[in-house]
């Protein structure tokens, strides 16, 4: 009798896939031809989409626990995956909540948006649970293809289509890198399974050059996905061109997923090659921090500035990877958890920057915000201080654990460059605060009152960032347990 595969660990993903397809059917059969119908269909799928993601999060908790394999090791469900999946789902939920109002204002509301977000989320969850180079690639591509479409979602806007095309061309190249690297790794280790690769690599006395080249190609592809320097070029353009809710989504969920995947691939199958890849990670980490800090200073568009800011943040997260041990991974996970809330909150503020029908994106438009919108200005100031890593805000703790890990691993130079880059980046974060608080308001204030969805997301993320210091222990303990499962 054929054995029934154990699909229990994959339940959240299966649920998401089925739900997304049902929502697609639902959307199609709405027969939305009138403007009212289009609006109704998009609201319905968006609402149900949030619900779906929320249920998926509950399912993730249900199947969490010890490390479980499914489909002969293609799929791994361990505490690490659980931690990251929860983050991804939180990020997706908040992005989706924020998006609807914005899309309606821009006349770009279509029911496919929520479905694409769900499919992208599904791809990310597959990525972080990948236990095999093939499932890794599958997850990565499902995610990427959904994101290409999302970037071009505002199809009447040339910038958006341009962003989508640019992202697609460069993203496909990066996927090619990953695929080519994977094939080399397969060729020189004879397997695509992570645990078997790890065992093979550890057993080899001399690592074959082909395997190293394969590893470098995989790393280049992954560095592209996390937008680390020197593979960051697409980021500012795509962030600027994509519709703002999509940028918000890009800035958090895929980043978290890609960094988590990076961690899993590096410390999993290639864990014993740490001496080979550590220098590479150190270099891209330093470059990312430096470029993120210096290039952001000159930006006038806030979305572009946030793109460079996110490149810088990836640089910090990569310090944790460069350390390559449990403390480092713990640091990265804590960092990512805090990063999600800071960024979603900031993008909620960016989405609230509206004058009449016009969405504004210049940093100077924030002038005098402290007088016209004191609440929003205060929350945005909190996010900016937090990103600069000023205690007692949450961003400080993110950096704290990363640097702690770096110091413990005696990567002193990396730590020193990191903190100095954070001082430089403080300069441009302060600029936002300066414009909001020290400058006078422009000709007309930004639109008020803020939509309820934005206020809600701002409140949640603001509270998390401000009050994180009160009870940091649970998150840190959880991240520690998640990191331990990788080793």
């Amino acid at each position: 009798m054929a054995e029934v595969p154990n699909i229990a660990p994959v339940l959240p993903e299966i649920f998401l896939a089925l739900a997304a397809m049902s929502l697609l059917m639902l959307g199609v059969f709405q027969k939305a031809v009138t403007p009212d119908g289009v609006m109704r269909a998009s609201r319905l799928t968006s609402g149900l989409g949030v619900l779906t993601l929320f249920l998926a999060m509950l399912l993730v908790f249900t199947v969490s626990g010890d490390t479980k394999m499914a489909f002969d090791g293609l799929f791994v469900s361990d505490p690490f995956a659980t931690f990251v999946k929860v983050l991804i789902l939180i990020a997706s939920i908040m992005s989706l909540v924020l998006a609807q109002n914005w899309l309606e204002h821009q006349g770009a509301h279509r029911f496919e948006f929520a479905i694409l977000v769900i499919f992208a989320t599904l791809g990310m969850m597959m990525m972080v649970s990948a236990g095999n180079l093939m499932s890794l690639y599958m997850g990565l591509e499902l995610q990427s293809l959904s994101l290409y479409v999302l970037a071009a979602f505002h199809r009447d806007d040339t910038r958006s289509t341009e962003a989508g095309l640019k992202y697609f061309v460069l993203g496909a190249l990066a996927s090619g890198f990953v695929l080519y690297g994977s094939s080399l790794v397969y060729g020189f280790s004879g397997t695509t399974d992570f645990t078997t690769i790890a065992a093979t690599v550890a057993a080899q006395e001399h690592t074959p050059m082909g395997l190293i080249i394969g590893l470098v190609f995989v790393m280049a592809g992954l560095a592209f996905k996390v937008s680390a320097v020197p593979f960051h070029m697409w980021t500012p353009d795509v962030y600027e061109g994509a519709p703002t809710p999509v940028t918000a989504f890009f800035a958090v969920a895929p980043k978290v997923a890609a960094i988590a995947l990076f961690l899993r691939v590096m410390v999993g199958p290639f864990g014993s090659l740490v001496a080979e890849w550590q220098q590479v990670v150190v270099v891209i980490s330093v470059l990312s921090m430096a470029l993120g800090a210096f290039a952001a200073i000159a930006q006038v568009n806030i979305k572009r500035m946030m793109a460079y800011s996110s490149i810088g943040h990836v640089g910090y997260a990569l310090i944790g990877l460069a350390v390559g041990n449990e403390a480092g991974v713990t640091g990265v996970l804590v960092y990512l958890a805090i990063y999600v809330f800071m960024n979603i909150g900031t993008f909620a503020c960016i989405m609230a920057m509206r004058r009449g029908d016009r969405q504004v994106e210049s940093i100077n438009e924030l002038g005098g915000l402290a007088k016209t919108h004191p609440g929003m200005a205060a929350v945005l100031a909190v996010f900016m201080f937090s990103m600069a890593g000023i205690p007692p805000l949450a961003g400080f703790f993110g950096k704290f654990y990363i640097f702690l890990a770096a110091i413990e691993a005696q990567l002193y130079a990396l730590a020193i460059i990191g903190v100095l880059a954070s001082v430089v980046s403080a300069y441009y974060y302060l600029r936002i605060i300066k414009i909001m608080y020290f400058d006078d308001a422009g000709i007309e204030p930004l639109e008020s009152p803020l939509p309820r969805t934005i206020t809600g997301v701002l409140a949640v993320s603001g509270v998390v960032i401000v009050l994180f210091f009160l009870v940091p222990a649970p998150v840190i303990t959880w991240a520690g347990a998640a990191a331990a499962s990788l080793f």
């Binding site: 704290f400 110091i407 020193i416 001082v423 302060l430 300066k434 222990a473 840190i476 303990t477």
Partner: protein, 505 residues
């Protein structure tokens, strides 16, 4: 009894609670603004009253940390919420709780826009400052130490003068650049000792070679805060642009972070490195005392002049601290306390006439004594205290520092002592130009003498300055046991490493 077990937490979070109350005051009208001012005054005064329990409940016969609180915070990393005060930090807590209500009172009429936010910023600032002095865990210390930047940045940037943006950026980035290196040093210490608990770290012996690096990292942070020449340039800018109360708190408390840090961390934790770097500190202190005094002589702006005088006075503090003699360290602490009171009062003095004429140019004034006799008296008192006239707080500190310095190094003492003369020169010159001379300018003729509110602001500071000058024992007794214990520990550590060197040969 409640309040005594958790007295320090109460002192830290009471102002924060006050800030929370102000936050929920609705509206922006006259009534709301008045309520915000009153709430801030009440919260900070109540904190001061509570801190009196600290003063009276303090046991001066022990060097142990008192009013200790310890609670788990991040157990995985062995970081605890650990608070406590000894004879040194207790005095700084008192200074902070005293100056904050005075600042609130001093801003009563001069701050007209965004009063609620201003008061919230000040109360948060008080929370951070008190927390910094009470912290007995490096991470807690660092959090409070750094967090001070947020309210200070906003206070200068929002309510400051013409070049406020430049000044606030400079303050923020200078201090941040110094402190992040200290953060790394803290992490290295954690890696070595496995804890961030300050009392434990004080008893830990770090490798002398490592001490050099750790000392330098801490120095980067504290030297900016003190500030020491050549990283002092942020201070004149920050002082000039800050609103009066901002200058008061900056000179009164924030500058003490650096000196306190040297005494609390650099000396006991890195004794070998401290000895090694003493010549550097002496050199920088001498430059600070002489050079900044000369710079102060040629200033046209009153606030800038007092800012430079602060740097010179802080030169005494750093020099005194690194003599590692009882007189020197006690003198340094005393000098910080009296400077906290006196420079705060001097900035308030500038604020009084600035509120009337809206200029800080010395040449705009002259002959004030004819129109404002009370003011002339108050200003004279603090001017004399700043110069170090016997009978004022300033004298005791400078005298003790010089006594300690003579023991340690006569040449350094001789150079630093010239600061006293130069101090007299620039302060008297300032006073002559502002208060004496002919009453010629029309605007000055219209100025009124101090109001009862302003007198109320100065009264506690006058009492304190004279008290510190006439009966210093009430403050020296508090710190004496702690300072002795500290220096004893340093000596033991130094002897131990000397013995190790001898054994090695």
């Amino acid at each position: 009894m409640f309040g005594f077990e958790h007295l320090l937490s109460v002192l830290i979070f009471l102002p924060l609670a006050g800030a929370g109350f102000i936050l929920v005051i609705p509206g922006d009208d006259e009534v709301a603004v008045r309520n915000a001012r009153r709430t801030a005054l009440f919260a900070s005064s109540f904190t001061f009253v509570m801190s009196l329990f600290l003063w009276f409940g303090f046991d001066t016969t022990t060097a142990d940390f008192q009013f200790v609180e310890k609670a788990e915070w991040i157990p995985t990393y062995n970081i605890t919420y650990h608070l406590g005060v000894d004879g040194i930090s207790m005095l700084f807590v008192m200074l902070t709780t005293l100056l904050t209500p005075i600042c609130v009172l001093a801003s009563w009429d001069s701050i007209k826009s965004r009063v609620k936010e201003y008061m919230i910023a000040f109360l948060i600032l008080e929370t951070m400052m008190v927390g910094m002095f009470c912290a007995l865990d490096m991470v807690i210390f660092y959090i409070f130490f750094e967090a001070v930047l947020i309210p200070m940045f906003l206070i200068i940037g929002v309510w400051g003068g013409q070049r406020r943006v430049y000044a606030s950026y400079k303050l923020f980035l200078y201090t941040l650049a110094g402190s992040v290196l200290m953060l790394l040093a803290i992490l290295v210490m954690y890696r070595q000792a496995g804890t961030t608990d300050i009392p434990t770290l004080m008893a830990t012996r770090f490798d002398p070679n490592l001490q050099i690096w750790l000392w330098l990292a801490f120095f980067a942070s504290f030297a900016v805060k003190v500030p020491m020449w050549p990283v002092h340039t942020w201070l004149p800018d920050a002082h000039v642009e800050a609103p009066t109360a901002g200058s008061v708190i900056l000179a009164g408390v924030l500058l003490k972070f650096g000196g306190y840090g040297f005494i609390r961390f650099s000396l006991p934790m890195f004794p070998d490195a401290s000895v090694y770097f003493t010549p550097l500190i002496y050199g920088l202190s001498i430059v600070a005392v002489i050079y900044t005094s000369l710079v102060a002589l040629v200033q046209h702006d009153m606030k800038k002049l007092i800012a430079y005088s602060s740097i010179a006075h802080m030169g005494f503090v750093t020099a005194g601290t690194f003599t590692m003699t009882t007189q020197g360290v006690e003198g340094a602490v005393y000098q910080m306390l009296s400077h906290g009171v006196v420079s705060a009062a001097l900035f308030l003095c500038v604020g009084v006439i600035y509120d009337r004429l809206h200029t800080r140019e010395i040449s705009a004034y002259g002959g004030l004594v004819h129109k404002m006799p009370t003011y002339a008296f108050v200003f004279m008192l603090f001017m004399m205290a700043s110069v170090g006239l016997p009978g004022t707080g300033g004298f005791v500190g400078e005298f003790l520092v010089l006594a300690g310095l003579f023991k340690a190094n006569t040449w350094v003492a001789a150079f630093v002592a010239t600061g006293v003369i130069l101090g007299a020169a620039y302060m008297l010159y300032l006073y002559r130009r502002v208060v004496f001379g002919a009453l010629e300018k029309d605007e000055v003729k219209k100025m009124l003498d101090m109001s009862p509110r302003e007198i109320a602001v100065f009264a506690p500071l006058i009492v304190l300055t004279v008290w510190m000058g006439i009966y210093p024992a009430s403050f020296l007794d508090v710190m004496h046991v702690s300072v002795d214990n500290l220096l004893g520990q340093v000596q033991i550590a130094l002897d131990a490493s000397k013995a190790a060197v001898v054994a090695g040969h």
